[in-house]
C-alpha cells in the first residue's frame, strides 16, 4: 500500500496505475490508511527506535531518554552482556541455554500434537466433534494468568500431580524448586556426577559446557508442558482448514493405489500441508523464543536461574535493576536471534526443486491410476 502510494506520487503517471486515478484518489488513499499508519508509527516504530537508542545510551530511567543528560555510550551495554565476564554475561548465557531447551521441546511437540489433534477432529465420523474441537481450543483462549495459577497448584510440592504420582507409587519431584537439569539427572543415575574437566572448565557466555548440556531443569519442564498445552489448540485451528482443503480425491487416489493410512498421512497429507506447517513452525519458534508471561507469573527465573529467559531477563534488568540500556540490549540480541532462527528454518523448509517434481509426478501417477482403476471397476460391474 505504502510503496504504491510512493510510486504514484511522482510527476508522471505510472503506466500500470488504474485509469482515472488522480491525486485526489491518492489523498483519499493516504487518508484511509492514516489511522493504521499512525498507530504503527507511534506504537511500533517510535518505541522500537527509542529502545534502539536506549540500548546505546546510558539512560537511567528518569525522564525522557531524549533529554540532554542522556549520552551515547556506543556498544558498552552489548559488551557488558556478551564479552565482559560477570554476572550479566552469565545470566544472559543461562537464559539462552534455558530458552534453547524450551524451544527444542516446545516447537516440535506443539506442532506434532496440534497436527494429530487436527487430524482427529477433522474426521467426519468422530463422535461429538464440536465438543472436542472446542475443548482442545479452550486452553488457548483462557487467560494466561489463570492457567499459570492453576499450574502452580497442580505442580506444587504437595499438589495434584505429585498426589497422582504417589498413587502410582512414584515420588514426584518438588517441581518448582528443583534446579537439576534432566539430562544431568539421567547421567547421574548412570553414575556420572561430575562432568569431564574439558566441559566443566571451559564454556561460552560465562556458562560452562557442562552446564550447557545439563538440559532443562525440572522447573523448566513444567513451563514447557504449560507452553505446549496452551498453544496446541491455536495451531490445531490453523491446521484444520488446511486439512479440509486437501481434496478427498487425492486421499481416495492414494488408497486405491494401495497406500496404508500411515503412508497416506506421511506421503500425501503432510507434504500438502507444507505452507501451513511453515506458518505454524514460524509462529511457534517466535513465540517460544519470546516466552515471558509464564516465567513472570510462575517462577521469576528461579530456581537457580534455570527458568530465566532472555525476554524475562530484559524485563528484570530494566525494571528491577534499572539497567535500562542493558535490558534494551538484551531485547535487541533476542530480536536478532529470532530473525536468524526464522531464516534458518525457512531455508530448511524451502520447497526444493527435486521434491516438487517428485510430488507432481506422484500426483500424476495417482490420477492416472485412479482413472484406470475406476474404469476397470466400471467394466467389472458391467
Amino acid at each position: 500500500m505504502i510503496t504504491a502510494g510512493v510510486r504514484t506520487s511522482g510527476r508522471a503517471r505510472v503506466p500500470n496505475a488504474r485509469p482515472g486515478s488522480s491525486w485526489k484518489d491518492q489523498v483519499a488513499g493516504w487518508l484511509f490508511c492514516s489511522p493504521a499508519l499512525l498507530l504503527v508509527i507511534f506504537f511500533l516504530l517510535v518505541p522500537i527506535g527509542l529502545a534502539a537508542w536506549v540500548s546505546l545510551s546510558n539512560w537511567d530511567g528518569i525522564g525522557t531518554p531524549l533529554s540532554s543528560g542522556v549520552h551515547f555510550v556506543g556498544l558498552t551495554n552489548f559488551r557488558e552482556i556478551l564479552t565482559q565476564p560477570g554476572l550479566a554475561q552469565q545470566d544472559f548465557g543461562l537464559s539462552l541455554r534455558n530458552n534453547f531447551y524450551y524451544v527444542l521441546l516446545v516447537v516440535p511437540l506443539q506442532t506434532f500434537i496440534a497436527l494429530v489433534l487436527a487430524v482427529v477432529v477433522s474426521r467426519k465420523r468422530l463422535f461429538a466433534r464440536g465438543f472436542f474441537r472446542t475443548s482442545f481450543y479452550f486452553p488457548s483462549v483462557t487467560s494466561s494468568v489463570a492457567i499459570a495459577i492453576m499450574f502452580q497448584f497442580l505442580f506444587s510440592g504437595s499438589g495434584a500431580i505429585n498426589s497422582i504420582l504417589g498413587y502410582l507409587g512414584l515420588h514426584g519431584p518438588n517441581w518448582f524448586v528443583d534446579p537439576n537439569g534432566i539430562i544431568q539427572t539421567i547421567l547421574g543415575d548412570f553414575g556420572v556426577h561430575n562432568g569431564p574437566g574439558a566441559l566443566v572448565n571451559h564454556g561460552f557466555l560465562g556458562v560452562s559446557w557442562w552446564q550447557w548440556i545439563a538440559g532443562p531443569s525440572v522447573a523448566m519442564v513444567v513451563l514447557i508442558i504449560l507452553g505446549i498445552w496452551t498453544t496446541v489448540g491455536t495451531f490445531m485451528l490453523i491446521f484444520l482448514p488446511a486439512l479440509y482443503n486437501i481434496s478427498g480425491d487425492i486421499a481416495d487416489a492414494a488408497s486405491v493405489d494401495g497406500a496404508s493410512a500411515w503412508q497416506k498421512f506421511w506421503r500425501v497429507t503432510v507434504p500438502m500441508l507444507r505452507p501451513t506447517l511453515f506458518l505454524v513452525l514460524t509462529l511457534g519458534l517466535i513465540g517460544s523464543w519470546q516466552v515471558f508471561d509464564s516465567v513472570f507469573l510462575i517462577s521469576q527465573g528461579n530456581p537457580a536461574g534455570t527458568t530465566l529467559t532472555p525476554a524475562f531477563l530484559a524485563y528484570q534488568t530494566s525494571f528491577s535493576d534499572q539497567q535500562w540500556g542493558e535490558g534494551a540490549a538484551i531485547a535487541f540480541l533476542l530480536f536478532g536471534l529470532i530473525i536468524a532462527m526464522t531464516l534458518i528454518q525457512r531455508w530448511f523448509l524451502r520447497e526444493r526443486e527435486g521434491s516438487r517434481k517428485r510430488f507432481r509426478g506422484l500426483l500424476l501417477r495417482e490420477r492416472l491410476a485412479s482413472n484406470v482403476t475406476s474404469r476397470s471397476s466400471d467394466v467389472l460391474e458391467a
Binding site: F42, F43, L44, V46, P47, I48, L50, A51, A52, V54, G61, I62, G63, T64, P65, L66, S67, S68, G69, G86, L87, A88, D91, S140, S144, I147, G157, N174, F176, V177, T230, T231, L283, I286, G287, Q290, V291, D293, P303, A304, G305, A311, A314, Y315, Q316, T317, S318, F319, S320, D321, Q322, Q323, G327, A331, F332, L334, F335, I338, I339, T342
Partner: protein, 431 residues
C-alpha cells in the same frame, strides 16, 4: 505462554520496555533535563523548610499485602481528607516496581508511595526523591535500624512506615513434648543446635530456615560480621566471621536438625512450620497473620534470635518508607499526609488493621501492652540491621540465593567469595 497474535509479535519484542519509553517520550524534554541537572550535580538536595500545602489532590501508590492493608490505607486517606480538605487517591499496585519506573520515566510519579530499601537506593542516587526526614523533627523517634535503611549522606530522606524483623518461633506443643523447659529457650548457637537436635524426630526437623540471604545474613551479624561497610561502598560479605557463621548453619544442615523448606516438600518456611514439618522457624513477624489464617490451632511463642559465640545479638529488619518525589504537584500537602501517617495514633491503627510493628520507638511500650506475644522481639529492632539493599543487585542476590540452596554440599567460603564479587560489581556499576 503467550497467546498467538499473528504478525507484529516479532517486532514488538524489541520494545520490552515500550510502555515506559513511550511514557517518557511524551514527557517534556526541557523540564526533565533541567531538574535532572540541578539535582544530580548536588546529589540529594537538602531543603530548608517545606513548601505550603495547596489543594491539589494527592495520589498514593502502594503494594498491598491484602484487603486489610488496602482498606486501612483507604480509611487513613479518608480521615486525612476530612481533616485538611486535600483529596487523596489510594492505588494498590500489583507491581509497584514497574509502576514507579513508569512514573519516573514519564516525569509523573505518584505524590506518595511505599519505597523498599532497594528501590530507595536506586532512586536516591538519581536525585529524584524529596528529602524530608530531617525536617519533620521526629527523626530520633524511629528505630535507628529502620531509619538507617533510608539515610543517605547523613540525611534521613524518607520516614520508615513500619518495621518487621526476623525472630525465632517455637511450636509450644513440640517444645513440651521434647521435655524442654519453658523457662530455658535457646540463647546462643550451641543451645540452638542442641535444642534443634532434641526437637528433631522422624518426619519433623528441629528448625526450618529459608535458604535466602534475607534469613541467613542474620547469622553473620550474630558472629560479629557484616555485609557492607558503614558508607555502603564496600562489600564485606566474605569475612572470616561470615564464613564461620555459614559453616555453623551448614553443620546443622548436615546433622539434619536444620532443613530448608524445599526438603520437607513445601516451598515456604511458614507452611512447613504450620504443618509441623519443623518445630522451630526463623522468619519475620508477618508470619502471625498467615498462621492465624491457615493454621489457627498451632500454638507458638516468639523469641529473639540466639546470639553468636561471642554473645552478640543480631537480626535483620525489613521496612518500607513513605517515598515522596521531588517532582510533586502538592509537596506541602504530601508531607502533611506523611506526618499524619507516621503519627503514633495512626501507626497503632495500622498495627491493629494488618499486624505491622510501628516504626516509632516512642510507641513501643503501648504496642507491647497491646500485643504481649510480640513484646519480646521488639528488642531486636534496636540492634537489628536492615536487609541488604544495593541498587541493581537483583541478579547478584538471585545468584547468591541459588548458591545458598546448595549449602549442604558446597563450600561456604566459595559461596561467599562469589557473592562478594557479584555484589561489589553491582555497587561499581551503579555508583
Amino acid at each position: 505462554m503467550m497467546r498467538w497474535k499473528f504478525g507484529a509479535k516479532a517486532t514488538s519484542l524489541a520494545g520490552v520496555s515500550a510502555v515506559a519509553l513511550l511514557a517518557s517520550a511524551c514527557g517534556s524534554a526541557s523540564s526533565a533535563s533541567s531538574s535532572k541537572a540541578s539535582s544530580s550535580s548536588s546529589g540529594q538536595s537538602v531543603h530548608s523548610g517545606i513548601p505550603k500545602a495547596n489543594k491539589n489532590p494527592i495520589t498514593m501508590e502502594f503494594g498491598s499485602s491484602g484487603p486489610a492493608e488496602t482498606s486501612a490505607e483507604k480509611s487513613a486517606a479518608a480521615a486525612f481528607t476530612k481533616m485538611t480538605g486535600i483529596s487523596v487517591t489510594v492505588i494498590p499496585e500489583a507491581n509497584l516496581t514497574q509502576s514507579l519506573a513508569e512514573g519516573f520515566a514519564g516525569k509523573n510519579p505518584a505524590n506518595l508511595f511505599y519505597l523498599s530499601p532497594t528501590l530507595f537506593e536506586q532512586y536516591v542516587t538519581k536525585g529524584v526523591l524529596y528529602s524530608y526526614g530531617n525536617e519533620l523533627g521526629n527523626k530520633s523517634s524511629f528505630y535507628s535500624s529502620l531509619a538507617s535503611a533510608f539515610t543517605y549522606k547523613g540525611n534521613l530522606v524518607c520516614d520508615p512506615k513500619d518495621g518487621s524483623l526476623l525472630s525465632l518461633y517455637i511450636n509450644t506443643a513440640d517444645w513440651k513434648a521434647a521435655g524442654l523447659s519453658s523457662s530455658q529457650y535457646p540463647q546462643n548457637w550451641s543451645e540452638l543446635a542442641a535444642d534443634a537436635k532434641k526437637l528433631t524426630t522422624q518426619g519433623r526437623a528441629g528448625l526450618v530456615v529459608d535458604p535466602n540471604e534475607s534469613r541467613l545474613d542474620a547469622f553473620f551479624y550474630q558472629n560479629g560480621g557484616s555485609v557492607l561497610n558503614a558508607s555502603g561502598s564496600k562489600v564485606l560479605i566474605n569475612s572470616p566471621q561470615n564464613v564461620k557463621a555459614l559453616t555453623f548453619v551448614q553443620s546443622m544442615l548436615k546433622a539434619k536438625t536444620l532443613v530448608f523448606p524445599s526438603q520437607v516438600n513445601d516451598a515456604d518456611e511458614i507452611n512447613a512450620f504450620g504443618q509441623n514439618q519443623a518445630a522451630m522457624v526463623i522468619t519475620g513477624n508477618w508470619m502471625s497473620g498467615e498462621m492465624a489464617a491457615d493454621y489457627p490451632k498451632i500454638r507458638y511463642t516468639a523469641h529473639l534470635l540466639p546470639a553468636g559465640p561471642s554473645g552478640t545479638r543480631g537480626t535483620l529488619t525489613f521496612t518500607n518508607c513513605w517515598g515522596v518525589p521531588e517532582n510533586n504537584s502538592n509537596l506541602g500537602g504530601t508531607i502533611e499526609f506523611v506526618k499524619y501517617l507516621t503519627s503514633p495514633a495512626q501507626e497503632l491503627r495500622f498495627s491493629q488493621a494488618f499486624g505491622t510493628i510501628p516504626s516509632l520507638q516512642t510507641v513501643s511500650a503501648e504496642y507491647a501492652k497491646k500485643y504481649p506475644q510480640n513484646a519480646v522481639v521488639l528488642e531486636g529492632l534496636k540492634y537489628g540491621h536492615p536487609d541488604i539493599s544495593i541498587a541493581g543487585s537483583t541478579e547478584a542476590l538471585t545468584s547468591f540465593n541459588s548458591a545458598l540452596t546448595n549449602l549442604a554440599t558446597a563450600s561456604p567460603s566459595s559461596i561467599l567469595e562469589s557473592a562478594q564479587t557479584n555484589l561489589q560489581s553491582a555497587i561499581a556499576q551503579n555508583s
